[in-house]
Amino acid sequence: MIIDSLARALDDRLRLSPITRRALAKVFPDHWSFMLGELALYSFVALILTGVYLTFFFDASSADRVYQGSYAPLDGATTSAAYASTVRLSWDVRAGLLIRQTHHWAALVFVAAIVMHLARIFFTGAFRKPRELNWLIGVTMLTLALANGFTGYSLPDDLVSGLGLRILTSVVESIPLVGTWLAALALGGEFPSDVMIPRLFVAHVLLVPAVLVALISLHLGILVRQKHSQFPGPGRTEHNVVGSRLWPGYALRSLALFLWLLAVLFALGGLVQINPVWLYGPFELAQSTSPAQPDWYIAWGDGALRLFPSWEFRIGGYLVPQPFFPGVVLGGVTFVALYLWPFAERLRTGDRRQHHLLDRPRDHPVRLGIGVGALTFFVVLVVAAGDDILARLLRVPVYDLLSLFRVLVLVLPLLTGALAFFIARALCRGEAASLGELTRADLRRAARPAPRRPSGEDEPEVPVLGRPGERIELWPVGEVWRWRYRDEAGLTLTANRAVRSEEEAVEAARLAYPGVDRVVVPGPPPPPVRAVRAALRRWGRAVAAGSLLIAALIERRRDRRRRDGDHKSPWAEKAEATSGGDDPA
């Protein structure tokens, strides 16, 4: 066992075993939405892996270079070295195009994963104390991801990205007072400059990724230190985390996700063409192409540039040009709002408690409404960035579409935001467990102004103490002690790791379930026989395979039974069963 002895040797020198033991036993909540951030992380890993390969072949220079290779329409043409090397990489380096396309797809997926992760954090209130720090880091990483996406997109020096860079330069120049200086300092002169591509390259492969790596480490470090938040449920309190351990279960699952992500990215990279710069041609000053769009995550800015009316004004003779508002102000407001949200919400609700139990999105209708409205706003902007493509596909005049989007971008967010707000309120106040069960009465109730609840909008944690029959059991296993939590409903939660003494076990259990009685037992009962479960599963399969009719009948009967029992979900069912027998004594 080489690994064993290697591990021992390391431990002898660094004393890693206590840390390792704790780390391997870290508990991850069993809910899919907690894996969205992992998607972003793994996309970033994929970006680094493929990106490093690309740097071996990419020549970040604006100097003239003659392309010679198998792409006939450019063979012998003089272009910038950056462009020529990108075409070479795509057409003449084996596997080069695959890696390049995979890299680009990974970038699109990276930002998409970040956005979904951010939405999850936002709607569940996971940014609340004590996790504001990680929220700030996360928002910073989003801005860096956008920046790195844009710089990477611009590196090949092709016609489409050159137009994008020119537009961005114009947006920066529109900033009052300092705009022209900022743009000139960044570009080392007027657009287009010779140092533009090398500087973009350094930013793309060194500066921003280095900061991203540092921030990701910090993000994860803080996550480990603070532990995961979790949705409310039986046995879950503000003082514990319930779920699967990192080793062995979660590590395999997470690794599977990483590999699946790679599979999807390589499938995309191999099968779907992205950014065919050889077709776009090299950037030339006086050339343009149509349609011209940036990647989707920048497109909201492009959409805003299209939709914002042609307003400019002068302050004391100085010009404030149109791109300032949709470009600089909108972007600034967006990110400042993201940064400030946790603090603004705390100011509004006056909630200074620590939260490790998450809200369900519906628990906070105002937050949900604002979030949905904001997302709608940005989606409309992204779609508006494609107004020329839409106009062509639908054969409608592009300016009609422009007017339509100008209205939609203002009206639609209000509508969706209000809708989300009322649905959340209806779900909150009514009995319905899901959208489908909402009744007219629920909606009517939601439309009425809030009956001022004494506790305010922000419900405090669900008190889960005092579940019937709950107790902590401790038992020794050889030299070490273990403990677990049980309740009458049959819920059993085992401590994630063994400890060395009874005192430690008692302390851990006290932390996780303050105030719950503890008993020492000889040992855990034998686990429920797996064979039973296997047999059940086999039986289930047989039934399923049996006949659609029978399956449908069973389904309906189960439905009816569920309705009779008024059970909403597995854990609500348990909760109800137990609360039914709740006796203060």
Partner: protein, 287 residues
């Protein structure tokens, strides 16, 4: 798992996992073979995808069928330290000989660090070489000026006859084809249709304008022949050339700058001055 006979379900899961890993290996071999045979982006991608998907499926089945999930709890210390603990830490900082008690020295240190930090910003100015023009001036100046001849994209000087009606010809200042704000275009219009005279004047209907959109600087190269309009492909601003290149739709707010031209003694077109206003997108100190 050792020491316990695996259940039938476990055996089935194991078989699936092994199968998935074998598929993965096949994908890997396929990738290597494809690469060796000369490479083909599609097959390489599919093979790699199969290789990774096989691993992913194998591990996923492994983790879901052979390893119990859930059912564990970890205690959470919380992040509210006791006041005593906080006081102890604070005390460390406020020990009698702690640097944090010497306010005067700290203020001087802060001053020195601020000065150093500010000084460290100065070299950033080198990002824009000192021999270059100041940015706002650079944006206003273009290579155009009295006597600069108009050339086409290949550097050939243009005569008036080289700009026929119904087409748009890209023009550059002679010798400066690479300057960002210089590109212009020439069109020949019917002077009788002018609603407003072009800012730079015209030579019997031959007019030259900057090609850079006044919105965000994209080349306005879509010429809708006959309507006398040009359209920017980036944000769909359109300009009416018959009305002095005034913006008529889209986000642009200012007309395209015109270029005053004449026919030189050699018969070629040449500028008589710079653009009538700075070309391209707007900026703070734009006149």
């Amino acid at each position: 798992m050792r020491g316990r006979t695996p259940s039938r379900a476990e055996r089935a899961a194991s078989r699936r996992i092994v199968g998935a890993f074998l598929v993965s290996a096949a994908g890997a071999v396929g990738f290597a073979v494809t690469y060796g045979l000369g490479g083909d982006t599609q097959w390489e991608g599919v093979c790699l995808a199969v290789a990774f998907a096989g691993l992913a499926v194998g591990l996923a089945v492994w983790s879901r069928r052979l390893i119990p999930t859930g059912g564990y709890v970890e205690e959470h210390e919380g992040f509210t330290p006791t006041p005593a603990e906080q006081a102890m830490t604070a005390a460390v900082f406020h020990e009698p000989d702690s640097p944090s008690r010497r306010w005067g020295l700290l203020a001087a240190l802060g001053f020195a660090l601020t000065a150093l930090g500010a000084a460290a910003l100065f070299p950033l100015r080198s990002l824009l070489p000192w021999d270059r023009q100041r940015p706002a001036r650079a944006l206003k100046d273009t290579p155009w000026g009295p006597g600069v001849r108009l050339v086409d994209g290949e550097g050939r000087p243009l005569r008036p006859a080289d700009v026929p009606a119904d087409t748009l010809v890209g023009v550059f200042p002679e010798g400066n084809l690479d300057i960002g704000d210089a590109p212009a275009f020439a069109v020949r219009l019917d002077p009788e249709r002018f609603i407003r005279q072009p800012a730079g004047g015209h030579l019997g209907g031959l007019v030259v304008w900057s090609v850079l959109c006044t919105h965000a600087g994209c080349p306005v190269r879509i010429y809708l022949k006959g309507t006398g309009r040009v359209l920017c492909p980036c944000h769909q601003s359109s300009f009416d050339l018959l009305a002095g290149a005034r913006p008529v739709a889209g986000p642009a707010a200012r007309p395209l700058p015109g270029l005053p031209i004449e026919v030189g003694p050699d018969g070629f077109l040449r500028a008589t001055d710079d653009f009538t206003s700075p070309p391209g997108a707007g900026f703070w100190s734009r006149p």
